[in-house]
């Protein structure tokens, strides 16, 4: 593959000096991860805030371990002023106010936030029921034991890291695929290179290798940051993410190639890449789980390479699925690349003439 070495070096050197490319492919997604990671640091649903006015026996008499468990879902502050506390409920600052009148536990809540007030009422209900059972002096007949289905250490970050990382790789590879072609054509570098004794596979291979290298560097950086600061735990099959990243990069490069094959100017190429990348990021579940989306969105998602990369990467990084589980996703990504590249080759023009 004549020409591969020197052209690889030239592209890599050029990339490493491209501040805006470095920002958008490396720094921006990382900042994004840090922001979102910090946001979801506390797991799952945010705890509901309640105010306890005066003594409430079912809360005060809880043993220490049960108190910790309640603290995991409710943040309880104590106050003496009932009127002030009720105002806080009205303002929406707290989910509920709890007080005890005789044997009755009173939960003041606002209808505006049925989710958290429901949570509070449910908890209080169960606490009162257990207190009743305990007061009867008989052992409870039924009991509930929770058993998480996923990896016991699973956290939001396990899902977020692959989502944001895949999106960052999609942006980087699509844009570099689109812009390299257009810029080289605009500057006649493509023609100049055909006058040198190089081979086309060397030229294309250099571009592809740089993109794969950049994607793997993004991955390493992401995983290190997510592990060091957000408690990401790698599963045993994390290494299956490497072939996934390579196949994903190829498929995004081919999208960029398709945009760059036809675009007349660099602005058009970037615009076309944007039209693909931005909706793809949302439709593929990079930022939120697709289970929240309507069914038609899911159907569209199946046609997008980012969806398959996300799904494969979640298998590899979060679910710890066996390595063979990602094979279908790999096949879809490579198939997508082949079709798009063929289309790009058919539309390709060497120059603007």
């Amino acid at each position: 593959m004549t020409g591969l070495g020197p052209i690889f070096r030239a592209i890599l050197l050029g990339f490493s000096r491209d501040r805006s490319a470095l920002f958008f492919t490396i720094l921006f997604p990382l900042v994004f991860l840090i922001l979102v990671g910090g946001l979801f640091r506390t797991d799952g649903i945010p705890r509901s805030k309640v105010i306890q006015v005066g003594p409430v026996a079912v809360l005060d008499a809880l043993p220490a371990d049960a108190q910790r468990e309640v603290a995991g879902v409710l943040t309880i502050t104590k106050a003496d002023d009932l009127t002030g506390a009720l105002a806080s409920v009205r303002n929406g600052d707290v989910a509920a106010v709890i007080e005890q009148r005789g044997d009755e536990v009173l939960v003041h809540y606002s209808r505006a936030d049925p989710t958290s007030s429901g949570t509070v009422r449910g908890i209080m209900d169960s606490l009162v029921q257990s207190a009743n059972v305990a007061a009867s002096g008989r052992p409870a007949r039924y009991s509930v034991r929770g058993s998480p289905v996923q990896d016991e250490s699973l956290k939001q970050i396990q899902y977020l890291t692959p989502g944001i990382l895949d999106w960052a790789i999609a942006v980087g590879a699509t844009f570099s695929g689109a812009s390299t072609l257009v810029i080289w054509r605009e500057r006649r570098l493509l023609r100049r290179l055909t006058m040198a004794p190089i081979k086309v596979p060397g030229l294309v291979g250099a571009r592809v290798l740089v993109s794969i290298g950049v994607a793997l560097a993004q991955t390493a950086l992401f995983l290190v940051v997510a592990m060091a600061f957000f408690g990401l735990r790698l599963t045993n099959s994390w290494w299956t993410s490497v072939p996934l990243i390579v196949a994903g990069t190829l498929s995004f490069l081919s999208i960029g190639l398709l945009a760059g094959a036809k675009a007349k100017s660099i602005d058009t190429a970037i615009g076309m890449a944007n039209v693909v990348v931005i909706p793809m990021a949302f439709l593929s579940g990079s930022f939120f789980p697709l289970s929240l989306a309507p069914a038609w969105v899911e159907r569209i998602a199946h046609a997008l390479p980012l969806f398959h990369l996300n799904s494969g990467m979640t298998d590899a990084l979060a679910r710890g699925s066996p390595p063979m589980a990602v094979l279908p996703e790999l096949a879809v990504l490579l198939g997508f690349t082949a079709v798009t590249t063929l289309l790009a080759i058919r539309l390709f023009r060497w120059d603007d003439a």
């Binding site: 070495g5 000096r17 023609r191 006058m195």
Partner: protein, 300 residues
């Protein structure tokens, strides 16, 4: 010695535009050869056909005795090309740029550094090509075309857009390249450049070659008149008309131009009348040849 380039009746049409319309030339090895013509004359397309970048619709081309189309990898190391736009990798310094091209031809980095020195680019070797001046970028572009010591060098309008100082520097370099025994082929729309540099010139217009030969021969062949100009306040148009009935007169922007086949008579008569203010005498040039063969003014 065999000819460096031979084309026989090459044609290239784009739709109805006849970019190249029957060009036949023979360029000797070691010759400095120029294609002269206004924009759109077909110079660039002719060069691209010679380089093997484009396939002619019809006709034959041979470069160093071989067909340049389809892309001939045995031929590529023997030719060096420079395009109208400088074709560089993004965000690389001048040295990295030429070293990349050197590596593509498997030439040592030292050779590339020596060329930078020879082209007066050693001071800006660490500067990114985007920040080079027009003249520096053009010199680097030509240096990149020469990094593998090609036998034939093809340059498309190498001095376009350069200031006069940079043009003169580049002319010296091009003469030197030719003096090393390389065949230099260039296109230009500057008449003076073709006249000064080239052993032979082909005047092109509308995709055809109108005349070919050494500039001096072309000018001599065409019995061109000389232009004598003075300021109008020195002598009026009417007065001049009476004095030089055979000459063509033209008054523009306060300057009277007398176009004549007998310049010595005109100048001595003006001198006798002390009417030499702002005197300029311009002999026949390629511009006159162009006017004569195309029947219209030269516009670059």
């Amino acid at each position: 010695m065999p000819a460096a380039v031979v084309t026989r009746d090459i044609h290239k049409h784009y739709g109805r535009t006849r970019a190249v319309d029957g060009v036949s030339i023979e360029i000797e090895t070691g010759e400095f050869y120029g294609f002269l013509g206004p924009n759109g004359a077909g110079k660039t397309t002719t060069l691209e056909i010679i380089e093997g970048l484009r396939k002619p619709d019809s006709g034959e081309v041979s470069l160093l005795g071989l067909p340049p189309w389809p892309r001939n990898e045995a031929l590529l190391p023997r030719i060096g090309v420079q395009f109208q736009t400088s074709s560089f990798f993004e965000r690389l310094t001048a040295r990295e740029q030429i070293r990349t091209f050197a590596a593509l031809y498997r030439v040592r980095g030292r050779t590339a550094d020596d060329l930078l020195e020879a082209f007066g680019l050693a001071d800006v070797a660490g500067t990114r090509t985007e920040r080079l001046s027009g003249g520096q970028a053009q010199r680097l572009s030509i240096a990149c075309a020469l990094v593998h010591s090609p036998e034939v060098v093809v340059l498309d309008e190498p001095t376009a857009g350069l200031d006069p100082q940079a043009r003169h520097n580049l002319w010296d370099l091009l003469r030197e390249i030719n003096a090393q025994g390389r065949t230099v082929i260039l296109s230009t729309h500057y008449l003076d450049e073709a006249e000064l540099l080239c052993d032979r010139v082909s005047i092109m217009d509308g995709g055809k070659i109108l005349r070919t030969g050494p500039a001096a021969t072309l000018i001599a062949e065409y019995n061109a008149p000389t232009r004598v100009s003075v300021e109008v306040r020195a002598i009026s148009l009417d007065e001049a008309g009476k004095l030089f009935p055979d000459a063509t007169l033209d008054e523009q922007a306060g300057v009277l131009t007398i176009t004549t086949h007998d310049p010595s008579a005109v100048v001595s008569e003006l001198g006798r009348r002390h009417a030499l203010a702002g005197l300029a005498v311009r002999g026949a040039s390629l511009e006159d040849v162009f006017l004569a063969v195309t029947g219209r003014e030269y516009r670059s």
